[in-house]
């Protein structure tokens, strides 16, 4: 019990002192996962719309892949991205391994199926006649898609929350492709792993509290948007 208590007290002290390293790690987490979520949102919405509206051979298989991908193990994503970005790998010339961009890429890959799956489901849940009605009023295909996405904004915000949550909380991929370099690629989750492995529980608890607060704050904002849009 004493261990937890001491840890908590020290954590509050670290937080209130405004420890620079602590807060820059938190900012990096927000940045990496935020950019990754935006990237997967842009691509996943298009892929989801394609799956929802296009009838093609292998569509069921593609949907099954996407649904499997929604539970993709981060270490597998980390391994694949690491191989691709390795100096002798196919994308080695980009020199991205052990940079934040490698982490953004890994988290975008991780969250892309989540956004795609949510989008396909949200669009498929709209009445099919709504799309016909919009086209029948003179909408182009892109205009119709935009209006349908606006109609499906509530489940789409849920997709954003799920994607950001998955990105900011994963540790395996970030560790593998980022390398947990202090001041460069260290994010909240990798820092927690490091401190815990060293037996430094106080900073680990402080980092965990920040991580939880960060996820909560982002979800609070998005939930507010969701409720207002009702």
């Amino acid at each position: 019990m004493g261990l937890i208590w001491d840890g908590l007290r020290e954590a509050v002290e670290l937080l209130s002192r405004g420890d620079r390293a602590l807060y820059s790690t938190a900012a990096r987490s927000l940045y990496v996962s935020g950019v990754a979520t935006l990237v997967s949102l842009a691509l996943g919405v298009l892929a989801g719309a394609f799956l929802a509206f296009q009838r093609f051979r292998g569509r069921a298989l593609a949907l099954a892949f996407v649904n499997t991908g929604m539970g993709l193990p981060p270490v597998v994503v980390g391994l694949v991205v690491a191989i691709m970005l390795w100096r002798s790998g196919p994308l080695g010339d980009l020199h991205l391994i052990y940079t934040v961009w490698a982490m953004v890429l890994a988290q975008a890959v991780l969250t892309f199926p989540i956004v795609t799956g949510f989008t396909a489901a949200a669009l498929a849940a709209q009445p099919p006649e709504l799309r016909l009605q919009l086209l029948g009023l003179g909408a182009s295909r892109w205009q119709a898609l935009w209006l349908l996405l606006k109609e499906a904004r509530l489940p789409l915000l849920a997709a954003v929350m799920a994607a950001f949550g998955a990105a900011v909380s994963e540790v395996g991929a970030s560790m593998m492709v980022g390398g947990n370099i202090a001041g460069e690629t260290r994010v909240l989750t990798t820092a927690v792993v490091l401190e815990t492995s060293r037996g430094e529980f106080a900073p680990a608890i402080a980092l965990s509290i920040i991580l939880l607060l960060l996820v909560f704050a982002v979800n609070l904002v998005l939930t507010g948007v969701q409720l207002r849009g009702r």
Binding site: P127, E129, L130, L132, Q133, L134, L135, G136, L137, G138, A139, S140, Q143, L147, K150, E151, R153, G229
Partner: protein, 360 residues
């Protein structure tokens, strides 16, 4: 001048099955065409083809004389569709009424003015600022119609816009729509399963049954001279009996039906076996003991009432006069004449009210 819209040899298939077959159908500029038929007849499919939203597997669709190709956006912006459900999107009522104009890139101020004018025309201008998802069914349908009219389409397509509404709301909206159609003179295809709506709004009527266009023509032609038994039954002919032409003289045919002789205008197709179609509102019932009135009706049939069923202010009366003859009379007449099963009556029908179909 080429018709506004023309369909030729159109076949739509779903799952390898023909769900719509239209040999030829056209709508001239300024005309209101009602497409009628029972539920599941393919009416909405036909409307989707007309709205250029569904490309038929076979056949040709022409808009203003030009064949419709793969890229339909330019043509779709010259028409407007209003469906059975209003399908309003998020935003205010005014946003919704202006949606078609916004999609066409009409400047904000101009589109708000036009949308507001059409909301006023359909009696819902007061709701302009309200959220679209806070409307009653009738209000939403009015907004949907205003939205379609606001784009000032060359071709207006309406898919059963009244089917979800209660009787009172429907009647009033029907009046408003009739007024708007007359005022704008817009070419319109109007789908409905309600014959009264079709009669009220349409210049011409097309009948779709079982996925096939059966007949198209003036309301008088379709309702008075249906081409086959199914069309006849759908357009409200309740008595269809087999008969045999026994004599044709001076353009009049004498037909033997169930032991009676009927006089009708001689059909152009002089087959011996015919089916006689009689609309219930064309049958006049009188009491047999009364002096036969000086009347021009060529057919006077004696019979016994077998059934009286009230239907609103009217009653449907079935008379056995050698065959079952269905008549509609007012409920007042039922009371005054004492019409009840077993009552002896005489029924008179003008020769011109009989419509003959070729027999089997």
């Amino acid at each position: 001048m080429a018709p506004k819209l023309a369909l030729r040899g159109v076949v739509v298939q779903r799952g390898g099955r023909d769900v719509l077959t239209v040999d030829a159908l056209s709508v001239d500029g300024g005309e209101v065409l009602a497409v009628i038929g029972p539920n599941g007849a393919g009416k909405s499919t036909l409307l989707q083809v007309a709205a250029l939203l569904l490309r038929p597997q076979r056949g040709e669709v022409r808009f203003d004389g030009a064949a419709v190709g793969a890229d339909t956006l330019g043509l779709r912006r010259r028409l407007a569709l209003a469906m059975q459900a209003p399908h309003l999107v998020q935003g205010s009522v005014l946003d919704n009424a202006a949606l078609g104009l916004a999609l066409r890139g009409v400047p904000a101020r101009q589109r708000r003015e036009r949308a507001r004018a059409w909301l006023r025309r359909f009696g819902v201008e007061a709701l302009a600022a309200r959220a679209a998802n806070r409307l009653s069914g009738g209000e939403a349908q009015r907004v949907s119609l205003a939205r379609a009219f606001a784009v000032e389409p060359e071709l207006l397509l309406l898919d059963e816009p009244f089917s979800g509404l209660d009787e009172a709301t429907r009647g009033q909206l029907l009046d408003d729509l009739a007024g708007a159609l007359q005022e704008t003179g817009v070419t319109t295809v109007f789908v409905t399963h309600d014959r009264a709506e079709a009669l009220r709004l349409a210049d011409r009527v097309a009948v779709l049954i079982g996925g096939r266009l059966r007949q198209a023509g003036s309301a008088a032609a379709v309702f008075g001279a249906p081409v086959d038994e199914e069309v006849a039954a759908f357009v409200g002919v309740e008595t269809i009996v087999a008969g045999r032409v026994v004599e044709v003289r001076d353009g009049l045919a004498t037909i033997a039906v169930g032991g009676q002789r009927l006089t009708a205008l001689a059909p152009p197709h002089a087959g011996e076996n015919v089916r006689v179609c009689i609309r219930p509102e064309d049958v006049v019932i009188q009491l047999p003991k009364a002096e036969a009135p000086a009347s021009s009706a060529r057919n006077l049939l004696l019979g016994t009432v077998t059934e009286v069923r009230p239907r609103g202010p009217e009653a449907r009366v079935v008379i056995d006069c050698g065959f079952a003859l269905v008549a509609t009379v007012t409920r007042l007449s039922v009371e005054e004449m004492g019409l009840a099963p077993g009552a002896r009556v005489a029924a008179s029908i003008k020769a011109t009210a009989l419509h003959l179909l070729p027999g089997h």
